[in-house]
């Protein structure tokens, strides 16, 4: 007996309700998968942003805040660090390398970071991958600038273009200095991290830009704060800055440390936290990432809970549709019984329907999610900096989908068993 062809014909006869059941499972599976993929991609892209850095040091403040501004380019440093503190700590035994970071400026909404060659040399992301250049070279002079991949792509810059940087971290630059442009000398290869959304200049270039900004302010004489700043002795700035260049005491926002061995990290952290010349905070990026993730985790749990509830709703609608259908189909089953169908056939018809609906819902849900992410990849990457890698075979997703399949089958058991009982009791009596 070809039960399958009967099942398919019966399906076609109830296109609408079967279609609705499939649609509700498709949508709920798509939502669950979407949330789960976004969540794990966000998490792994967070975790892969910094690698190989053992300590991050900044002015005393919250560790999460330090991690956010130094690595993720989110928020702003509260205070600067003096150059000699940086030099002193960099020279401590156990320190292998150090990367200074100056922040606070933007260009067209992208952060500008002042740093040195160590950044290109030692900064690691993902699993110990170093930065690469897709074009040009790392900056050498103070009027040279290197662009992250996304900056170059979205603003359409090429090598040798001149760029003007504005002060402040706002989206739109409010003060521009046409007289101090940087020249693009290099474009970094894409990393999928905030590195792509950053412009890099030398520490000298960064400070120079600030001096130029202060000059401009002085000239306009608008801002009482600027006046105070100029009172601190930047009167013959241009000449002065040029001269002092080599041993200039830059003021930096934070620095990253690579250590000889992980083992010294805790000791060094304590030492930096008790640094006598100025109040500093040192954080272990891995630990702070976990802290950060705990905060974000709340949202994560909420999202997951919502998508699980949507799946429950989807599966309930499957149950409702199946239970309604068995009342319509009771007659049909009595006819099949009279023709020689076994109660097992009747059971298999109903259960098979539940399984088929669940599986096609899951299949369509997967297709829907893949389609959406494939079409939306570019937009998500440019809007949120998330590079979605469509990996549906993570254990979480596979278990989740298997669980939905299992629940779908269990749900099919309810009307299946009921119909089985009916078929025994009804015998050949057709009840309407």
């Amino acid at each position: 007996m070809n039960i399958a062809s009967l099942a398919i014909k019966s399906f076609r006869n109830r296109k609408l309700s079967v279609g609705l059941a499939i649609a509700s499972i498709t949508l709920s599976v798509a939502l669950l998968l979407g949330v789960e993929i976004l969540r794990s991609e966000a998490k792994s892209s967070f975790a892969s942003t910094v690698s190989g850095t053992d300590l991050i040091v900044g002015a005393r403040g919250g560790s999460v805040n330090l991690l956010l501004y130094s690595v993720f380019r989110i928020g702003n440093p509260t205070n600067n660090i003096e150059w000699h503190s940086y030099e002193e700590i960099s020279a401590l035994p156990g320190v292998k390398w150090s990367i200074p970071l100056s922040m606070g400026d933007t260009h067209a909404g992208f952060r500008v970071v002042g740093t040195d060659d160590n950044y290109f040399e030692h900064y690691r992301y993902a699993r110990d991958r170093r930065l690469g250049l897709q074009q040009g070279a790392w900056f050498g002079d103070e009027d040279e600038i290197v662009l992250g991949a996304e900056v170059a792509a979205s603003l359409g810059y090429r090598l040798s273009d001149k760029i003007i940087v504005a002060h402040g971290a706002g989206d739109e630059s409010f003060i521009k200095h046409a007289d101090e442009p940087f020249r693009v000398v290099g474009i970094l290869a894409a990393t999928g991290t905030p590195v792509d959304r950053t412009l890099y200049v030398s520490l000298a270039g960064f400070d120079h830009m600030h001096e130029a900004w202060q000059t401009a302010e002085d000239g306009h004489d608008h801002d009482p704060l600027a006046a105070t700043a100029s009172a601190e002795g930047h009167t013959d700035e241009e000449q002065h800055a040029e001269d002092e260049h080599l041993d200039e005491e830059y003021s930096i926002s934070a620095f990253l440390l690579g250590l000889e061995s992980r083992a010294v990290a805790i000791g060094l952290q304590r030492r930096i936290n008790q640094f006598e010349h100025e109040p500093l905070s040192a954080i272990l990026p891995g630990v702070t990432l976990l802290e950060l993730w705990e905060i974000v985790g709340l949202v994560e749990h909420a999202l997951r809970a919502i998508s699980i509830f949507v799946v429950i709703v989807g599966l309930s609608s499957l149950l409702i549709i199946l239970m309604t259908s068995i009342n319509e189909r009771r007659r049909e089953m009595a006819i099949l019984r009279a023709l020689g169908a076994r109660p097992g056939h009747v059971f298999a018809l109903i259960l098979g329907e539940a399984i088929a609906i669940t599986l096609s819902g899951i299949g369509l849900g997967i297709l829907l999610v893949c389609g959406i992410f494939m079409l939306g990849q570019g937009w998500i990457a440019s809007r949120f900096g998330l590079f979605i890698e469509l990996n549906l075979l993570t254990p979480n997703l596979v278990y989740g989908l298997l669980l939905i399949t299992l629940i779908g089958c269990l749900i099919g058991l309810i009307p299946g068993i009921r119909m089985y009982r009916y078929s025994l009791v009804d015998g050949m009596t057709i009840r309407v």
Binding site: S10, E332, I335, G427, M428
Partner: protein, 245 residues
């Protein structure tokens, strides 16, 4: 080959619904002869359909023996009884006989999907089940292509019952069971329908067990039985009581 006298034979049969202490059926003996056209009359709700369920092996008795075609149903497993029914019984219900999502032809050939035996018989008769279905439908005045290609839900009740008759007859099962098949038809159609059944049974040599509450249909049958006289459990019970709903 000598034909056995009885095609269906019940002995000291008792049946009760699960959880009901009173037996619904208590039949001392009930026999149907091979090739016979038997009319069983009984009020609706008296347990006639239950008797048919027992004969067809869908229900199992509390006690007693049911022999069909010289085989004891009570000694078969449930699956064996289901196969047995598929091979040897054609069944027509009072109404709603057809599977709504199958075409007329698919409905008629459905028994061939459950029984190889009936499939083979239909092939040896007409070449394939489809042609056998058409042949039967033609006998029942249903071969008009406009009718055949209609969705079964759009057929009139009389047409539906004739399709059900064709389905019951395909593959020439030994026993044809008809449970109030004409109750939703008007008088003219009733007589015509019964005539059709007789003709087909004669042709295939099938035994017809026809159950109805309507004494007016009794006339053409070989033999008639009053169900309440057959069923001892019925005595002392109001005649029209519903036993199960």
């Amino acid at each position: 080959m000598t034909l056995p006298e009885h095609i269906i034979s019940l002995n000291t049969l008792r049946f009760a619904w699960h959880g009901h202490p009173q037996p619904l059926l208590d039949i001392d003996s009930f026999d149907v002869m091979r090739g016979e056209r038997l009319f069983v009359r009984g009020a609706s709700g008296s347990g006639k359909s239950t008797l048919l369920g027992l004969v067809a092996g869908v229900l199992t008795p509390l006690s007693g023996a049911i022999e069909v075609l010289d085989q004891r149903l009570s000694e078969m497993t449930a699956a064996e009884r289901d196969h047995f029914r598929a091979h040897h019984f054609g069944i027509i219900f009072q109404q709603f006989n057809l599977i709504p999502y199958l075409s007329v032809i698919e409905n008629v050939t459905l028994p061939c999907q459950f029984s190889d035996q009936r499939r083979r018989k239909s092939i040896s008769r007409s070449g394939n089940p489809r042609d056998e279905a058409l042949r039967l439908l033609e006998h029942l005045d249903m071969a008009d292509s406009a009718v055949i290609h209609k969705p079964v839900t759009e057929l009139s009740v009389g047409q539906q019952q004739r399709v059900a008759a064709a389905r019951a007859l395909i593959g020439s099962p030994e026993i044809l069971i008809a449970d109030e098949p004409t109750s939703s038809m008007d008088a003219d159609r009733r007589a015509a329908f019964i005539e059709l059944l007789f003709r087909e049974c004669e042709e295939t040599g099938s035994t017809l067990l026809f159950v109805s509450h309507d004494q007016g249909l009794r006339e053409p049958f070989d033999r008639a039985i009053e169900f309440d006289r057959l069923n001892r459990a019925a005595s002392g019970r109001p005649p029209n009581r519903k036993e199960f709903s």
